[in-house]
Symmetry: C3
Subunit: 397 residues, 3 copies
């Protein structure tokens, strides 16, 4: 399909919850909204790949707030902002005057006078990240309503305690491209499996995001993890509900080996148990360094019981045609490469390494699409104008 | 007044000390210069608000040097630069090779080969910040005169030990908008009052900037502080002289409660006494950590004698119509919000919270106007061309 | 020569190894390649100086990776990227997820989805910096070949263990401008001399870059240093070979005083001996803090034997007409300014201070030229189109 046809297709979707709305959780969006994001992302990628510049902003800031380390998402956000014409301005909470007591509502307004988007990563504290984003959003609503801000900046969730929508949507676009269409995903078996890692305390947002999103497209979703490594219960419930509605299925099980049998797609990734994350959140809040150390030791010892939860050649052979599509949000803990024992064996990772890079490459466009949808009431029309306009990204090329 | 009329009005001011001049201290500028800055800022804001892009630079750097923490000013500077088409490049003195001994004149040139502006915050050392900016300016003059630099970058004072012109000019624009005109400020009583804060060592530049600027517009300016909390004497003298010239008045007093009576505008804000800042500067230079700790203890004990210097409902009721406009450069120390006892009570702050945000929102435009005035001999003509040109900030919107 | 003539001249050079090639080492490039870089840099500078904007990118990232401190090169890279329309995105390895084990090939791809250039400074470890750049390049080749990346980003060496091409090429352009042409450099005597510094462990890349580059233009190159302060032997061999081919000469000697006699150009600069850098690399890799301390003491004691290796008025008087052109990559260790005893005396530095600033001012354009040559198959044609297009850098000026 060429760009023009893609745009026409997009113009037929009935997305209603993108314009002027933040993108915080995929389950707040309609199916049409999600499809529209995928289409916009694809169009933007095709434009970039064919030297058409979709720079719609002549100036404006895209603020980023990273409360946790990031490479991939940081560069994806910067790339998305830059593609559309915005300049990233990072709020480094250490270099700022955000002392104890400066309120979120104040900071949110102070950084937004000429800002179009705020991207936030806040995934360290269970029960906090999403709440923080909502609070920022309310402050922006208030600031805009009361004439402080000329534009209500859109918020893009760059990972919270509940969801990691820029990741899961990039993953979905990867699947769509891989299988040719969203319809083709129906009935495909995807296994989101816990995997062993020598570190602990990894966020729950990726597995939660995956099960809540993939269940909406009629897939057979299986969530596998050792007993005790639960996710947030409400989000598991959302996955169940989604599966029922989409005509797919959702199942929880407790053996990677069993789960991967006949899988079309596997997503083996470590995370910390929900209950551990709750403890950890309490300890972090109290700055209980000793408690954190003890918890880490305990958890690593507990983790170590499940070293066989590595996705290796033996398990790969159990999947559909011994060749399930391997997915990962990266970086993976690769046995013999980045650690002694990890989430995936060296050979298996190497086999699917390039596809995982391709998967990661959709993220900048997903973020740009979220911005685009938040900003333009009729994205298809604007994309059409960009296409007609034909401005080149690299001039004289 | 629409944009066109504003621009015509601007074309009638006779500002002479903006073009090719740094903006370091408001008292170095003529009244017409200051009025021109306010007009340019207003026009740029109106353009931004109506989707007209005043991007005059197709490339170029706006360097920032922050020798103290900043959120508001950092984002304001970034916003201003971005609005005009410049990219901020921060000189992080920790990540650079600016070892002991690399001279200011060398660094100033090295960061300026393709630079249009340098914004500097240097407010920690009394007697240093302004001096440093002048030194940088001389190095740039020399570099430009001798063919090192293609353009003499303009310097914007983002706060020094003497003045905080981007703040005080934003405050002035806020007052102008609030009361409708500069003429309307004549005879209005503004109280710049010290206020209690649980921290010490806050710079003097805000109160100094306010008394030196507001006395130029015929206002009745009262500076209130506990005995001993003096500002730099020369700047107090400037305020006196200004008041005499402008037909306003200037008065120093020592009770917040007395001072706020019948005030139209109150600006309650903590600062450290001049003599303490002198001691602190000496101790900081000698890296005398113990001395600094002792000074802090002493000063906090001294401050604590003046906990009643809180702007609260009782004091608010003493002001004109019990409703003086409350101003603050933010973040304020709010009793019961950001501290146990602070500069302002929770209820009073809440009442004027949104106006303080609006006040802060003028800063990016004031900075952009300072840049604009420094760069274009005839700002009104250039603004007129931008308007005719009609380039949109957000295309297809 | 005007811009148009410069562009015509450029169109006649037969550079073959710029397009789609990284710029890592000058000795990998043909003489025509180097000449083309100089011409492109000159044209870009003339354009900038006459308010013509050579912004060829409408969006895109220029990633920087600084594994060592930098001011000059950081700002030069930022300026070059900005001039061409790219936004710098710094990979701060401390703020990223580049944990132990994330592979170079993965990171290289993850930061490159919408990236046009990667500038790398990695000069701390002997045997590492160049190797790292090559490894990044191979990862990018692979990513591009396998469809991960839409464009193969070009790499610009911002200083490695072997060469510092953006410095040496800026130095060469300075000499070309100073003497009027490259031909005029034939037979000129340039002395690259070790000089005393109160610090140790300075990289070898500048002296290596200078001797390897200047020998290609028929110059009489003399490398002077105290016995033991050798450079990497292979690069000294390259200099010898180059001199033989270009009809110049290359000589190693061991007295600054003798070497500078009749010199046209002197480049007195400290560096650490090759053998010390090898030890230091081992110690740094092992994080042997004590060993590093001891090595530092030893080396400083050894250095201190050569305090007379200061370029001072006495030595200056021995040069051609007592007025050899003094060069330095800056910042210099200036006796009585930045240290008690250093590389150059205060008076001599002061005499040539402005020329060293002019020298430094070519670096942004050299970097921009390297980017330009990597990206456009026919740089002259593109420069011609920019000229015809006549887009202004500062509009309405």
């Amino acid at each position: 399909m060429n760009i023009k046809e893609k745009i026409e297709q997009l113009s037929e979707t009935e997305s209603k919850r993108l314009f002027k709305k933040d993108f915080l959780l995929t389950w707040e969006k309609s199916l049409d909204d999600l499809k529209a994001i995928l289409e916009i992302a694809s169009v933007l990628k095709m434009m970039r790949d064919t030297n058409i510049s979709p720079k719609v902003f002549d100036s404006g800031l895209a603020v980023s707030i990273f409360r946790d380390n990031s490479t991939r998402t940081r560069f994806s956000y910067a790339s998305a902002a830059n593609l559309l014409g915005l300049e990233v301005q990072d709020l480094d909470e250490k270099k700022s005057q955000i002392a104890h007591g400066e309120t979120v509502r104040e900071t949110a307004n102070m950084i937004s006078f000429l800002t179009d988007f705020i991207g936030i990563r806040d995934d360290m504290f269970l029960g906090e990240g999403h709440k923080y984003m909502v609070e920022v959003g309310e402050a922006l609503d208030d600031g805009f309503a009361r004439g402080v801000l000329p534009v209500r900046p859109g918020i893009v969730n760059l990972q919270c305690d509940r969801d990691h929508p820029t990741q899961s949507m990039a993953d979905l676009l990867h699947l769509k491209q891989h299988y040719g269409s969203l319809d083709a995903l129906k009935g495909k078996k995807i296994v989101m499996s816990w995997a062993y890692s020598p570190s602990y305390g990894k966020p729950l947002s990726v597995p939660q995001g995956i099960i809540a999103l993939m269940t909406r497209f009629g897939m057979e979703v299986e969530l596998a993890y050792p007993e005790g490594y639960d996710l947030i219960p409400e989000i598991v419930d959302i996955a169940k509900k989604n599966a029922a509605e989409s005509g797919g299925s959702f199942k929880v099980s407790h053996s990677m080996e069993e789960a991967v049998k006949d899988a079309d797609i596997v997503y083996p990734k470590s995370w910390a148990p929900f209950s551990v994350m709750q403890q950890r959140t309490r300890l972090l809040k109290n700055k209980d360094v000793k408690g954190l150390d003890e918890l880490e030791k305990e958890c690593l010892a507990e983790n170590a019981k499940f070293k066989d939860w590595e996705y290796d050649e033996h398990k790969m052979k159990l999947t559909k045609n011994s060749d399930a599509l391997y997915m990962h949000c990266l970086p993976a803990d690769i046995t013999g490469v980045s650690c002694i024992a990890g989430e995936v064996s060296k050979d298996v990772f190497e086999k699917y390494r390039i596809p995982t890079y391709v998967e990661a490459g959709f993220k900048p466009y997903i973020i740009a699409a979220m911005m685009f949808g938040q900003r333009f009431e009729n994205p298809a029309a604007v994309l059409g104008q960009i296409l007609n306009n034909g401005r080149k990204r690299v001039r004289f090329e």
